[in-house]
């Protein structure tokens, strides 16, 4: 550290923290690469769970892993054909 920054106090985050943050971001992206087989399996499992609550259009379903600047999101678009009455009931009974 030079004299100036000693007097002024350290400017900004330490380089270690910069390294950590850059590493975090880069790994978010690296780790987000998921094999099509796994994504398919995930889709199957998810749709089966959702099908317990509503009637959905399996064919029209789209699931993707979206990464932008500093985050990764699992985005699903699942067309709903009909809500099951039973799911409303169970919700109500849960509230009462």
């Amino acid at each position: 550290m030079d004299l100036f920054s000693k007097i002024m106090g350290r400017q900004g985050p330490s380089s270690k923290n910069i390294a950590k943050e850059r590493l975090r971001l880069v790994l978010v992206h690296d780790r987000a690469s998921i094999s099509p087989q796994i994504l398919d399996a995930l889709k199957e499992d998810m749709l089966n769970v959702i099908a317990n609550y509503m009637e959905i259009d399996r064919r029209g379903t789209e699931i993707t892993l979206n990464s932008d600047e500093d985050s990764v999101a699992l985005i699903a678009s699942i067309p709903v054909l009909k809500m099951n009455r039973s799911s409303q009931n169970s919700q109500r009974s849960a509230r009462y």
Binding site: K16, L23, R31
Partner: protein
Amino acid sequence: MGEVIVITSGKGGVGKTTTTANISTGLASMGKKVVMIDTDIGLRNLDVVMGLENRIVYDLVDAIQGNCRLKQALIKDKRFENLSLLPAAQTKDKTAVQPEQMKELCQKLKEEFDYVIVDCPAGIELGFKNATAGADKAIVVTTPEVSAVRDADRIIGLLEAAELRNPTLIVNRLRPSMVKKGDMMDINDMIDILAIELLGVVPEDELIVVSTNKGEPAVLDMHSWAGQAYRNISKRITGEEVPLISLDADSGLVSKIKKFFGFQA
């Protein structure tokens, strides 16, 4: 039946070969029967680090293709008769060895040796697949740098995909003074990010260069910090508990680090 351990990293130059030489020599000095395999075809290195470069007649490819008997390709170490090296081929084609053949080779070797230590080339191509094919365990080497840790993360994913679960981590070339200043990631940072078990920490040490110049692994040098770290790691591999003392950036860091590497503070 022995154990096959692959030393890998993804990135080149982080210390795989240094680690292979030191761990193997460390284990041999504890009386274990050890063989090292250099799988870096075309970029033979381990022989030089071990000071055995003048003794090579046959190599890994010869042994696998049956140009010689396996025993003939094993080079005995100068210092320990229970330590041998199977050198990489220097001039042959990289595709001369396939994973199936490596698996078979490791299987044969572990019937006779307590430890088969495999030095993996950089990268994630055929060389990586060959080196990991016959392995029972994996040790991932990294340095405290963004690029090296990133590659280590990728390698850990590939190891798991190859059913080599729970690899352990060696952090090499740590500089305590830089960690203290906040200019180098510390051990906890890396363990947090990679989420794997720590096997050991090896400090940056000029004596590694000296030992490589001489062809004598630093693990035998009682004055070397890195050597002490490798002695501890070798013991941990045999199941001995050598405590890890956690580093923190507070006062007394240097004495803590000394203890961490096994020195008296």
